[in-house]
């Protein structure tokens, strides 16, 4: 996997360029529609077509692989670790990145299509924000450079705020400001962690940092390095929406439009993976790091799912369930075995699809009623039978009911925790899956099955066909990965083996 590949930078360049262009076209809805459709289709297509490879930006391959540059350099450079260091911003496109970026591309594709067809005059600004966010998260998944990751982490945070701001939901400005204030503490902490890593290792390339630690070029137990680890973990908690940031993250989901919430949760899931993988790669020699990830993930699961029970707004309910499901991914990472990490990565892919499906599915209720309060809803099965059926299947998938994908990933997680001698973790996961199922069924019963409340106004407009088609496509992905889990796990295993 050493060849440079032109399609790797295009995964980032195309959405960013088109996003900037679309931002200028917010009054021209037809042009916005055409460009958005083309770019949306390219989002999952490019990673599907691209071969695995490495791309160097602003530099070149390590001297050891680059005899033309290495010739003539003094021996104190070519004879030292500098010979194998990466003097460039490096992007690595492997099989795991291929799967995750493709899935993110599909979620964004459906979100863009639905947003284009649910509104009469599509906004170029909204699509701009989605594309910028997608490009940022894709770059985070690809980047092997921790500072480059930080830059895209900040862009992703700002685009998430933007998506909430343009959603025109009550109190969205307040939530966005709160998220920015919290982020303005967490982001500098992440940067400080990166600065300390740079200070200790002299590097921002993750592969080189890992090499320096493993070969003893730097003291692995240096207090500065441990401090760097703590600060990076703090930034990770914020980016992913893990406790103590779970309430603000779920508030962000609930203040976005359904399509916005679908992409926001996908951003969180893949940001969780991107930074989580880096933490494991650099600090896996510290047993405490894995214990911390396991602990915080269990807390996220318990808090997310129990807080979902008490919600009276269905968007907030799904948002808390999404936070709880993030915990499952973290459990896989925290177990630290190849099987556990593969299960965690598989769970990440599954969650991104299922939660997007749920947000879009419940979004049809908002489309018909403009209402999100559970107590004001009811009798929607008669109004939207197709989407009700699809939402029910999505809920079953999230709870881990076979034959859907989350059943396979959760089963792998349970097996992995049993193999690691942690049956209590397995029991907690099974119990919380049951609670997830009950919480979802309560919401489903309230919205679809109980009699329609007297004051509920239902609009005559039919749900756009594209919304139903998008839901069916996402459900097909759930079914395919549920029936053939090896289609996903084969792609993810390589990355898990590299970090376990």
């Amino acid at each position: 996997m050493s060849t440079e590949n032109l399609l790797i930078p295009l995964m980032i360049i195309i959405p960013i360029t088109c996003a900037l262009f679309l931002n200028l076209l917010h009054e021209k809805s037809r042009v916005v529609k055409i460009i958005s459709v083309i770019v949306a289709l390219l989002l999952p297509t490019i990673p599907l077509l691209a071969n695995y490879g490495i791309q160097y930006f602003g530099g070149y391959a390590p001297l050891a692989q680059n005899p033309t540059i290495a010739t003539g350099l003094p021996s104190f450079i070519t004879g030292s670790a500098l010979n194998i260091f990466h003097p460039a911003i490096t992007y690595v496109f492997g099989s795991a990145q291929k799967l995750m970026i493709t899935i993110l591309g599909f979620v964004a594709l459906f979100a863009i299509f639905i947003s284009l067809y649910e509104v009469k005059k599509p906004s170029g600004v909204y699509i701009y924000l989605i594309l910028m966010g997608v490009a940022s998260v894709m770059a985070m998944l690809l980047s092997d450079d921790i500072f480059n990751l930080y830059v895209f982490f900040e862009i992703a945070a700002l685009t998430q705020v933007g998506i909430v701001l343009v959603s025109k939901v009550d109190h969205n400005y307040e939530t966005a400001l709160k998220y920015l204030i919290v982020g303005s503490i967490a982001s500098p902490m992440l940067l400080l962690g990166i600065a300390l890593l740079l200070g200790v290792t002299g590097n921002v390339n993750i592969t080189d940092i890992v090499y320096s630690i493993k070969t003893g070029l730097v003291d692995p137990h240096s207090p500065v390095l441990l401090m760097a680890g703590s600060l990076i973990i703090f930034g990770w908690l914020y980016a992913a929406g893990l406790p103590p940031f779970h309430t603000i993250k779920s508030a962000m989901y609930s203040k976005a439009l359904p399509t916005g919430a679908a992409v926001l949760q996908a951003f969180s899931v893949f940001t969780f993976v991107a930074i989580g993988v880096i933490i494991l790669r650099i600090f896996s020699y510290l047993h405490f790091a894995e214990i911390f990830i396991l602990g915080i993930s269990l807390i996220a699961m318990v808090l997310g799912i129990t807080m979902a029970i008490t919600q009276t707004d269905f968007k907030r309910l799904i948002a808390f369930l999404a936070v709880g499901e993030l915990g499952y991914i973290g459990v896989g990472f925290g177990l630290g075995t190849v099987f556990g990490i593969t299960a965690g990565l598989f769970q990440a892919v599954n969650e991104a699809v299922i939660t997007a499906l749920l947000f879009i599915g419940f979004g049809t209720i908002m489309y018909k009623t403009k209402e999100t309060e559970l107590k004001k809803l009811g009798g929607m099965l008669v109004e939207t039978p197709k989407s009700a059926f699809l939402v029910l299947l999505a809920g079953l998938a999230m709870a881990g009911v076979p034959p859907f994908n989350a059943f396979q990933s959760k089963l792998m997680l349970v097996q992995s925790s049993l193999n690691s001698g942690l049956p209590e973790v397995a029991i907690i996961m099974v119990l919380l899956s049951i609670v997830t199922f009950m919480t979802f069924m309560r919401a489903f019963h309230t919205i679809y099955l109980r009699p329609k409340p007297a004051g509920l106004v239902i609009e005559n407009e039919n749900i756009p066909r594209v919304t139903i088609v998008a839901m069916v496509c996402l459900l097909i992905i759930c079914l395919v990965f549920g029936l053939y889990p090896q289609l996903a796990t084969n792609y993810l295993q390589g990355l898990a083996m590299g970090i376990a």
């Binding site: 003094p74 700002l158 204030i181 982001s187 940067l191 990166i194 002299g202």
Partner: protein, 121 residues
């Protein structure tokens, strides 16, 4: 003296970060909160600059007539400065968005109190 410059910068950076965190957590006025957040960002930037400081160092440009060993021994490490430049841009963008939001919310609530504006939401 050389060590003092770096140490003083690092201590100032630490002080800025601590003051910033204190202000963000305990001040109620949103503008003061944003200023405190700027303190945190500036503290981290100063930390990066202090880390890249090299006493008697030269600019990281290989000039004609310079020997390889002279360059490699005296050139400052440029990476921290490049990072700070990017970080400043990011910080400015975030602050612009925050201030814009504060203007809108101030018009809506007629107040800059964080507890009033953000408390119930």
């Amino acid at each position: 003296m050389i060590m003092d410059t770096q140490l003083a910068s690092l201590l100032t950076a630490g002080a800025l970060i601590v003051i910033g965190i204190f202000g963000t957590l305990f001040l109620d006025n949103l503008i003061k909160k944003v200023i405190s957040l700027a303190f945190i960002g500036d503290g981290v930037n100063l930390f990066l600059i202090a880390m890249g400081y090299k006493a008697g160092g030269i600019v990281y440009i290989f000039l004609p007539g310079m020997s390889m060993s002279e360059f490699s021994q005296n050139a400052a490490y440029p990476l921290p400065f490049a990072l700070v430049l990017t970080s400043i841009v990011i910080g400015a963008s975030t602050m612009a968005v925050m201030l814009g939001l504060i203007i809108v919310l101030n018009k809506k609530y007629g107040s800059l109190s964080a507890s009033k504006i953000l408390g119930d939401n």
